[in-house]
Structure formats: structure tokens, C-alpha cells
Symmetry: C2
Subunit: 518 residues, 2 copies
């Protein structure tokens, strides 16, 4: 038995077989024979035949396996990762890795053969990206000097655009030191794409065709649905809504006459079938936590009359229809949405488990566009996407006067509630880029090479990066990205196989001019 | 003008064009017209037409370019690398990067489509490889604990064999901290291949077909020539001989009657055409340095009678023929060969420059096999390839009694004097592997996961890694691997674009629990 199948081998009555432990690798010479009719197994592709063993040679004996390769007794993940070389023999792991290879190969064929893209490998040892995620540092033999491991090839791919590689892609290894976030890996893979002389529509339709052509499950025919960030927020309470089912907010702000002029105030209701009944204490507790987190007012269906008013209850009931209950969320518009968005998530799970909500499609990809260019951070403006994102041309006049109102030309690709890709039209004008960096309080001097690249006549360009680990895990119906990575790290970035990270010896520390401290 | 070609655009007499600096990106709308007959340029694919400009829009103005994009005034490499985003616009750089992409894509198609290989991405953040090259270390948030950046996916690919991914490959990023070696990069790319249930012939013929199918220049039809390490040493004085020309040693040990029984003694002569004449002082100085380095005796043609004897001179002349001069190298067999091998290198260059030696073929690939398993190191036995290489089955009985005589099942692929690949049949038996590690004084406890993988019934397997940077540079006739890498580091591992490596801030040091010292 291996990834290609299983064949029954039998021994002639008079042959003596040695005692062979399970999972031992053997070489068998024999004669393929039809099985007796009564023994034919129509569930197996090789069910009609068997091999009568003439000669059997043990190539490598398996000993002391830590677990059996039986799907019905799959061990805990920690043990599986610790002995990944055995775990990989499970049929689902074989399938996941092979499908991953197939998907990436087909993506490359699509890009190279059909669309004349050039795959360029860019360095991973680079300088720190100002204003990004935490990057691993790599000490060098030169005292005090460190490389940073790139969090993405962003600067390089834009410099390639300046360099005349007008259609670039790379299956790129990226690094982020986010050991505390669950289901993240310190190193991950993205399909990184950038092209010159294009626009938002150009990138979106390219990626739609790419996915439609290479995704290993059925996916709707392009164009994919596009919604704005504002629409996503005010209807689903998230910028990555899962639209495999219909469950949407309604605004009821018009019912709050005294707040109509308060542009920050938001009031939303999430309707759901009466049959769900009252929420259990567990979920009520969850909602209490969300209220604290978002500083909003959330009112359950049974409390609306009491906590708001009977009059309002009746108006809300009119809005949502007789057959529905609902949950109401009030407060700062964004927080009211985000809070109700999290509630939408677990209400959907409850409804699905009780067959009160139907799945429309197995795969629902969509684009979220019109993100804000900036968000308010602790120390002034922060970028919503990254500092190289172009402002929306319709809003560029607001850049000085009302920067938080400026939309960007960024886009996210969302698949079943997961952000599987993101990108933007980039700034190609050095003066505009400098202005944006200044607004973001990012030190220009760290990006002189990049600004000079724009100044060298860099063509207009746009791009995207797809998160391959997540995308493949969805395609393979895997529960976590670790199921589609051959040798993933476990929580806290530990390698269960080798025990890495490890202590290093004093010679290495001396060579790299470092001392470790607690 | 871009990578796809050049088109002449003209302005109608009465149109006013703005002043446009060179390298500016413009958008032109116009009418394609036939050129006047006298203006047709048959050297250009677009030489028969021109575009009459109706509308011209400046998309991005180029300013303050540090150099011109004229092949005849190509700037120094340092300046080119510092402004790589402009340098990449040179036609040869465009060609190199695009050819690299094409070659790798074709290699993938060959492996995936024709030979059912699976591309698997393996981690780069791992534990230290015992007994290998110096590896970069990456500090983590856990005080004192470091990852190492892998120098190759060796352990992972063998664990994949244990895991039933029986035909693995990866275009793998690898890291070595060898900043002092010229023409090396701290990160480089190898085509990493491993397969189960194969042998030396299986790997060699696979790679021959791979190269024959995907190499962008003509390459001889497989099978490629195979020579043993001993033959390479005693005929060319190197384990990576350049066989594009015929220039070979002859042994003259038989002329030294008193040394016949000294198995360590070697005597070789390198014949070359008389027309080369005497070596200049510069080359004589080089030879003096080599004599020091290898502690050998080297005798120039004109000195043989004097330094050895007239009788010996006559016998040597008989051996090499009337029309040849020669250089003699005597001493410890290996050193005599290596010393004469280096001399062969510059004698060949001299002969080629004077048309006294002819190039047989543009590309001459060959295999060097039968390497020794061990070499004598300062502290006992060291591995010649790496510790997972299988001993030659014919020599395995010598493992205890005479380990330095044991050949291995390692192989190197040599192309025009460059080692472009290397691999071996691996040890798949855990007991043998443990024994070899012990002989090499390598701590088993750092490889328990690996030994357990072998013990889990791992099939017999073999593999190879091809150095893509070098291979592509040869294919593109590039002078250095830096010419086929988009953003290479310069000497000492510095990034001329961004200035990396850089100082990091105190917060980062604190987060990673390190202090830097001089």
C-alpha cells in the first residue's frame, strides 16, 4: 500500500514468510492472478486481482512505531507532528500534499504559459520594512548588523516593475514573527503577483480566471461578487464575510429619531428563524464578553420590549418579519457592526447545525473593495493595507482635509469567510508616495532605494498576494493550515520533530557578536 | 522599448511634444504606418513600421538616473547593483531573468508532468545540522533559543521518503553563512530532488533527461560521460574538470624506480604544445605559490634536465612526444595532482587565447562518481559528501579496517568545470546510519528524529541537488551567478540597494533577548 493504491498479496500454502512488522518496506516478486469470484472486492480498484508471492525481500523493517496508521484511531496532533514522517502516510496527508503540488503547478502553468508571467526569486535576507509586522532578525558576522527576514516581497516586486519585469510572480516564502497568534506559522507561502500597466479590474479578473482554472473544487464562474468594505461591515459585521449562507443585518437607525444626525451612531438587527429559540447561557456569556470588547449595547430578542420599548419592538418585528427573532446591536457604528458580526458567526453555526439555514454553495469567493486608506492609530494615521497602496482617485482631494474618508484601491479576496488574498493598485509617483509616508510618520530615509525606483520612470502597476496555505487548506477541506504543510511548526513556533528552536553554542554567539540575556 | 521590443514613434510636424527625459514611461496612441522605403531598418523586427503619435501621455517621468542604459557604457557592478531597478532594464538582464524562469518552469513540467514528482515546500527555520557548513541563526522570543536557517532540505527530503512522498522535488531556498567566499551568496536556490526505490543509475539517467529536455543551450545527448574521482584527480587534478578541451596529465611514476613501492608518491606530467613557449614571470610566480600551498615539487620544461636529469628528460620527452613541452609535478600523490590541476587551468586559458587548444563542445556535462566516503580531517574522519551518504556496497567490508579506502555512492554533476549538482544514494538503515555518525564523531542525539524516520520502515532512496544559480549562469553565458539573480548581495553579504544588514533597535534586541557585543 502506498499513495498509488493497495494490492492484496498472498502466499502460497507451502511458502514460509518471516514475521514482518506493519509499515515495513518490502520488495515482492510474484504473479498477478485473478481473485476467486467470491473474493472480488468491487470497492477497490485492484479488487479483482491479487499477487501470488514468489519472492519477498525486506528492504527496511519498521520498529517501535508510536502509533498505528488507522484513520479511526488517529492520534492527537502533537504526537502526529512529532512523528510527521509516519503521519504523512495517512491517505488524507498524502492527498493534501499532492493536491497542493498540483494546484501550485497549475497556477504556474496558467501564469507562465497563458499569461506570459515571469517567475523571479527575490531575497529573503533584507532590511527591516518600516511600519510592518514584526520581522525575524538574523545576526551577521559584522558586529551589531542584522538582516531581517522579509514579511513579503513587496518592495522587490515593485522594484521589478521599475526594472521592466512587467509581469512578475513568485511562490514566495515569507516570514512573520507572530508566534502568539493561533493558526499562524512563522514561515508561510504566498503566490505573489505584480503587473505593470494594469488597474484594479485587470488584477481582479486575472485572479478570478486563475482560481477558476486551477482550484481543485468547483468554484463559481467569474466575475466574482464585489462588495465594498462599508457594505461588508454594515451587512455582515466583518471585512471577510462568509457568504456560503444568507444571514445579513438590517439597519434600524431610522427607528432612533434622536440619533439620526449622529453619524457615528449605528443600530443593526440580525434576524434569524424563530425556531432557534432562546440562546443558552454559554452564548449569552459570549455576548457579554463581546459587549465589553466593543463597548456596544446588545439586546436579545426577548429583552427588546423591556430594554428598549414595546413600540420599538413592534417596529423591529415589522422590519424582520413575523417568523423571525433577532438580536439588536447599538452604539458606535463600526463597533456595533463588528460586535454583531461576531454574533452572526456563532448564530450561523447554531442555525446550520439545526438545519435552519441552508448552504448556498460550497465555495463562495468574493472581493471586498473600497477599503479606507488610513485607520486611526494610537499615534496618528496608520495604513489599512500597506504604505504603498494608491488612494482612490475620486477621494484624492480629501487627502489633506479629511484623510480618514479617503478610500484606497486595495482589494481583498475572501473565500468562505477567510481572507485568502489581498492587494492593491500601488502608488507609482514618488512625490505622492513621499507624501503618504510622511502622513504615516514613516521614515523616508529607510526607503530611499524604493523611492528612487519610482523616480526612475516606474510604470503604473498593481498586484496581489494569495495565501497559499489557507487557500489549499480550504480546497482540501482541511481543518487547519497545518494539514496542508509538510512540516508545520506547532504553537509558539516550536518544531515538534527536532525541538527547534534550540540553544546555540558559545562559538556561534561569539561569531555573531551576540550575548543572550533573560 | 521594453523586453518585448522597440518601436519607432514619430511626431507629426505640427504637434508639440513636451521635453521627455530618457527612461520615462509614456502612453502613446497613434497610427501604425509603413516607413518610407529609405527608412526601413531590416535589423529590427519592427523595422518596417513606425507609429505616428496622435496622443502622448506621460505616466511617470524618469529623473536623475545614475547611469545610462547603453551597453557600450555599462557601469561598474557596484553601481549597477545599487540601482538594480534600472540595471534590470538592460537586455541581457531581461534575458537572464526570463530564461531562468523558463528553465525552472520547464524543469517543473518535466518532473511533475512526465515523471509524477510532487513539489513539497519544507521549512527553512529549523535546527542546526550537525557537521555541516556554518548556518545563520535566528533568535526567537524565547530567551536563548534560536532557529537555524537550513543549508539544504536534506533531512526533510529524507523524512518525506519515510513519509511515502516517493518522488519529491522542490526549488528550494538554502542558506549558508560563507560571506568570505567569492561568488557565493548567503541565500541560493537549488533544485532539490529525492526518490524512493531507485539507485545511482536511476538518479543519473533522470537528471540527464531533465537537463537534455530543459537546458536552453545544446547539450550532448545522454548518457553523459562518467569518470571516477580517482580518474578525475589523476588526469585533470580536480574533481570538477573542464572537458570542453583536451588537456590531460600522464603519469610518469614508472620512471621513478626508487619510488615504485611508495603508494603515496605521485609523478605527473602535463604536456602542451611547444608553441606556447616559456611561461612569463607572472605565471612562474603563480606556480611558486602553488608549490608552497601543496608542498610539491614542480619542474618547468626548461628545467627538467637540470633539476631532474637528462636521462629523465629524454624519457619524459618520449612520453609526451616531440611537439610538446610539459610541466612536471612530483610529491604526495593527491597534492601532486591538485597542484598540476591548478596549473592545467591557467595553461588551458593561455593555450585557448593563442588558439593552440580547441574547444570540443560548448557544453560538456559529466558525472564524477566513486568519491571516497571519508576524508581525513583535523579531528579524525570527516565526510566527503554528507553524513547520510551510502557506502559503496563493494567496499562496505572495509568500513572498520580501512575506512579511508571506502568509496561512497555519491555523484557530482560537472558542467564545463563547474560543479552544478551533487547527490548520493542515502543510508536507509538506521543501524548503519548510527555507525557512520559515530565514526564521524557526530552527536546522535541531535538526529533522533531523523534516525527514527529511518527506523519507521523508510524505503531505500537516493537524490540530488542542482545549483540553479550556477546552472542558469552557464546556460546564459553569464560571467557570474549575480547576473542571473534579480537582487544579489555583493561581497561580504551586503545588499547594495537597501544597505542591509543594518543596526536594529533596542526594542528588537530586548524582544529577542540578545545584546550585541564587539
Amino acid at each position: 500500500m502506498d499513495a498509488y493504491g493497495t494490492t492484496q498479496c498472498i502466499v502460497n500454502g507451502d511458502t514460509n514468510l518471516p514475521d514482518i512488522p506493519l509499515e515495513t518496506t518490502v520488495k515482492i516478486e510474484g504473479t498477478v492472478a485473478l481473485r476467486p469470484k467470491s473474493m472480488i472486492n468491487t470497492n477497490m480498484t485492484t479488487g479483482e486481482i491479487e499477487v501470488v508471492i514468489n519472492d519477498l525481500q525486506i528492504l527496511n523493517t519498521a520498529s517501535n512505531l508510536p502509533f498505528h496508521l488507522r484513520d479511526y484511531q488517529k492520534p492527537k496532533e502533537q504526537l502526529r507532528l512529532q512523528h510527521r514522517y509516519i503521519d504523512l502516510r495517512f491517505p488524507d496527508m498524502q492527498n493534501n500534499l499532492r493536491q497542493r503540488s498540483t494546484m501550485l503547478h497549475n497556477m504556474r502553468r496558467f501564469l507562465v504559459e497563458k499569461h506570459k508571467f515571469v517567475e523571479v526569486e527575490t531575497p529573503t535576507l533584507f532590511c527591516r520594512t518600516p511600519g510592518g509586522a514584526r520581522e525575524f532578525v538574523v545576526p551577521t558576522h559584522h558586529a551589531g548588523l542584522f538582516y531581517s527576514l522579509v514579511q513579503s516581497p513587496q518592495q522587490f516586486k515593485q522594484m521589478l516593475m521599475a526594472g521592466g519585469i512587467d509581469r512578475y510572480f513568485q511562490v514566495a516564502r515569507c516570514y512573520r514573527d507572530e508566534s502568539t497568534r493561533p493558526d499562524r506559522q512563522p514561515e508561510f507561502t504566498q503566490l505573489d503577483i505584480e503587473l505593470s500597466f494594469t488597474n484594479l479590474d485587470g488584477v481582479l479578473s486575472l485572479i478570478e480566471q486563475l482560481l477558476y482554472t486551477t482550484f481543485i473544487q468547483d468554484i463559481p464562474k467569474p466575475p466574482f461578487k464585489r462588495i465594498t468594505y462599508k457594505y461588508a461591515l454594515e451587512n455582515y459585521g466583518t471585512d471577510k464575510p462568509n457568504l456560503t449562507y444568507d444571514l445579513k443585518f438590517k439597519t434600524i437607525k431610522h427607528l432612533f429619531c434622536d440619533k439620526l444626525n449622529d453619524s457615528n451612531f449605528g443600530a443593526y438587527v440580525l434576524p434569524y428563524p424563530n425556531e432557534l429559540g432562546k440562546l443558552t447561557t454559554k452564548y449569552k456569556e459570549k455576548i457579554r464578553e463581546l459587549i465589553k470588547k466593543y463597548k456596544t449595547k446588545v439586546v436579545l430578542y426577548e429583552n427588546i420590549s423591556k430594554e428598549l420599548s414595546v413600540e420599538l419592538f413592534n417596529k423591529i418585528q415589522d422590519t424582520i418579519g413575523e417568523r423571525n427573532s433577532c438580536i439588536v446591536s447599538l452604539g458606535d457604528n463600526e463597533n456595533a457592526c463588528l460586535c454583531l458580526g461576531e454574533i452572526r458567526g456563532f448564530i450561523a453555526t447554531l442555525l446550520l447545525s439545526k438545519n435552519l439555514l441552508k448552504i448556498n454553495n460550497a465555495m463562495v469567493p468574493l472581493w471586498v473593495i473600497d477599503f479606507p486608506l488610513f485607520v486611526k492609530g494610537e499615534n496618528g494615521l496608520e495604513t489599512c493595507h500597506h504604505p504603498f497602496t494608491a488612494p482612490h482617485p475620486e477621494d484624492i482631494h480629501l487627502l489633506q482635509s479629511d484623510p480618514l474618508k479617503v478610500r484606497s484601491l486595495a482589494y481583498d479576496l475572501v473565500l468562505n469567510g477567510n481572507e485568502v488574498g489581498g492587494g492593491s493598485v500601488r502608488v507609482h509617483n514618488a512625490e505622492l508616495q513621499e507624501k503618504l509616508l510622511k502622513m504615516l510618520n514613516i521614515d523616508n530615509t529607510k526607503l530611499l532605494h524604493f523611492l528612487n525606483a519610482l523616480r526612475s520612470g516606474c510604470p503604473p502597476h498593481a498586484g496581489i498576494a494569495l495565501g497559499i496555505d489557507r487557500l489549499v487548506s480550504i480546497a482540501c477541506n482541511a481543518e487547519s493550515i497545518r494539514e496542508v504543510i509538510a512540516f508545520p511548526k506547532s504553537h509558539e513556533g516550536k518544531d515538534p520533530l527536532s525541538g527547534a528552536p534550540n540553544f546555540i553554542n558559545e562559538d556561534d554567539k561569539k561569531y555573531y557578536h551576540i550575548v543572550t540575556v533573560d
